[in-house]
């Protein structure tokens, strides 16, 4: 509040601010210390004036000291941010307004007829859970080959997708009016698409690595000496993975090659060797091989010769 004392100061108690527009300094520029002293004395007078008003306000006693309720500040200062703008009504809100639909508060606990109990509306063990339906009766309009359960799931997905789209549209119109809710951000994730509405496929880590490997094999040294980017892993070994045992066994160590052959021989010549062999599988493998040999190489690899097709310029002589 602007209060004018006898010395006509302008005091704003809410901001603890005081302004004395009438002081005039002595025209002769006195020394620095005197100037400072004068300023401080003038300041003291102003602070005293504010304190006069302040200490006369009704105060409440608390543990930390007397608490005073300050009036709102009277000097107008510019705001930091714009005033919150009103949100445009969403599509549903407009529709509800037009039709006169009132909002009804839904209960958290609902009576479930199938089990004669009170169940919650959302969450664990809810009332109309889709997964709990044991039987769906067939209607005349149903097609014979259709799975009604899958159809229900599909319908739900479509509904959810539609709702998401509507939500995005509502947020977009709110953003246009500058009234996007504070915790939501609308981010543009891709370039505008012309033509098809296909979403750009995101390439995974492994796929990128494979492609890089493929490109590397086209170099003269098979990509072995290529400069690697930071974070790029060395190429995985292609082809068969062999583990070769040492030819000359180390002094004092077991001869691994000998052990290996002994193991195989032992299995073959043991008492139960006939049990090891899976006769059925062996017969099948033998038969398959025989059949393959008969038909020649795999049909896919050989280009099929179409005998009905005529070759152009076949009879040059004629």
């Amino acid at each position: 509040m602007d209060m004018e004392t006898d010395q006509t100061y302008q005091i704003d108690v809410g901001n603890l601010l005081a302004f004395n527009p009438n002081h005039r300094f002595s025209s002769a520029p006195s020394s620095r210390e005197e100037l400072v002293k004068e300023c401080v004395t003038e300041g003291t007078k102003l602070v005293q004036a504010i304190a006069d008003t302040l200490f006369n306000l009704p105060s409440t006693e608390t543990n930390d000291g007397p608490l005073v309720q300050l009036p709102p500040p009277s000097t107008k200062l510019p705001r930091e941010k714009h005033l919150p703008r009103p949100k445009p009504p969403t599509k549903w809100e407009e529709f509800a307004l037009k039709k006169g639909i009132q909002k009804r508060k839904k209960d958290k606990i609902v009576y479930d007829e199938t089990t004669d109990k009170f169940k919650r509306r959302h969450g664990y063990d809810r009332v109309n859970d889709d997964n709990d339906i044991p039987i769906i009766e067939a209607k005349a309009s149903d097609e014979p080959g259709e799975d009604p359960f899958a159809k229900r799931l599909d319908d739900k997905k479509k509904r959810v997708g539609k709702q998401e789209k509507n939500r995005l549209e509502n947020l977009k119109s709110a953003a246009k009016a500058g009234a996007l809710p504070s915790h939501v951000q609308l981010a543009v994730t891709g370039l505008p698409i012309s033509g098809t509405k296909a979403q750009p496929k995101k390439i995974g880590k492994e796929a990128l690595g494979d492609v890089a490997g493929l490109a590397a094999t086209s170099t003269a040294s098979g990509g072995k000496f290529d400069k690697k980017l930071p974070g790029e892993k060395p190429p995985k070994k292609q082809g068969k993975h062999h583990k070769y045992l040492p030819v000359v066994p180390r002094y004092g160590w077991v001869d691994e090659e000998k052990e290996q052959t002994n193991k195989v021989l032992g299995k073959l010549l043991s008492k139960h060797s006939h049990e090891i062999l899976n006769v059925g599988k062996a017969i099948n493998m033998y038969n398959d091989k025989k059949e393959k040999k008969k038909s020649g190489r795999s049909d896919k690899l050989k280009a099929k010769k179409d005998i009905t097709k005529k070759k152009p310029y076949a009879n040059k002589a004629n």
Partner: protein, 325 residues
């Protein structure tokens, strides 16, 4: 969140914060009817002199809690040039600061300080001052008991007709008020008043600024006698350049909404006949879990009282015996 192609076939995504903390931060920074206190961003330019660096450091100390100080040089910030504000606006957006203090030093503008304010994270107004006769707060000697506490609400005093008549000084007055004000509070603890900023318009282009601690002395009345002791930095500010806010922008920024959001009081109804009605919710009484009284034999009242009586009789009996003896 779901990606959907919009009408203009631009892929947009709804992003919401994943943690409660992030959500609270976003809500704090959102535009509100009643705003938070303005935060100050303190940074310096390509070259700073010792005076400017100490001014910035001391200003940061005075405004601790409501200020952010950047320590690196910022070469691409030129507040008065049209393209040189983008970095400032970006920093303001990131730190949620609406006032900035930019210090620099050059041959043409020695010991330069630019005080600026932002509206919606865009530059609102600027004022450039030169610092002269700077005295650091370390050079003042005073009784440490009266040293002002960090974050206390200050008194701000302006003296001189220049603050009313000269446009630039008027703007400086507004900027200094905004800078030193801190948070707008409703309740103030009178024992916590310990600092004051004194600004005097020495000439139409020069302002003397000093920071003092307050000593409250006993006087006859409730109002104590104020005594000011210079503690903090003191300097002369010489007005150089300035930029007034755009008129339209100023009008928009000064707009304030008069309505206060109605606080919903729950469980209270107003009835015409009965008056004010309240609803009381009693929690469910779990009969099975009520603590039962201790019915052990020794604790029963009859037993206790019986014992007391017995002791009394015995005592008197023994007395009688003694007396008889």
């Amino acid at each position: 969140m779901g990606q959907v192609a919009g009408k203009s076939s631009v892929m947009m995504e709804i992003r919401t914060p994943k943690t409660h903390k992030a959500k609270r931060v976003l809500e704090k920074r959102a535009p509100k009817l009643v705003e938070n206190g303005k935060k100050t961003l303190i940074l310096h330019g390509t070259k700073t002199s010792a005076t400017v660096s100490s001014v910035l450091m001391e200003l940061y100390r005075l405004k601790k809690g409501g200020a952010i100080k950047y320590s690196r040089r910022n070469e691409n910030i030129r507040p008065f040039e049209s393209g040189g504000e983008t970095s400032l606006e970006f920093f303001s957006l990131k730190t949620d600061c609406s006032i900035f203090v930019y210090g620099s030093h050059s041959k043409k503008r020695p010991d330069n300080l630019v005080l600026g304010r932002m509206y919606d994270h865009h530059v609102y107004d600027l004022i450039e001052v030169g610092i002269e006769n700077f005295k650091s707060l370390l050079s003042f000697s005073y009784d440490k008991k009266i040293a002002p506490h960090e974050g206390s609400k200050p008194f701000i005093c302006f003296t001189g007709e220049g603050f009313e008549n000269v446009q630039e000084l008027k703007q400086l007055k507004e900027v200094l008020t905004d800078l030193f004000r801190g948070e707008v509070v409703e309740n103030l603890n009178l024992t916590g008043l310990d600092r004051a900023y004194i600004c005097t318009a020495v000439s139409p282009a020069k302002v003397f600024l000093t920071h003092c601690a307050i000593k409250l002395k006993k006087s006859g009345t409730i109002v104590p006698r104020i005594e000011l002791v210079e503690v903090g930095p003191s300097m002369d500010l010489v007005i150089r350049r300035n930029r007034f806010p755009n008129e339209g922008l100023r009008k928009e920024a000064m707009k304030s909404s008069k309505d206060k959001p109605k606080k919903k009081v729950k469980n209270v109804d107003q009835d015409d006949v009965l008056g004010k009605l309240g609803r009381v919710y009693i929690p469910e009484q779990e009969v099975g879990k009520i603590p039962l009284p201790d019915k052990s034999k020794g604790v029963k009242r009859e037993r206790r009282e019986g014992k007391v009586k017995k002791n009394k009789e015995e005592g008197s009996a023994s007395k009688k015996l003694k007396e008889s003896e």
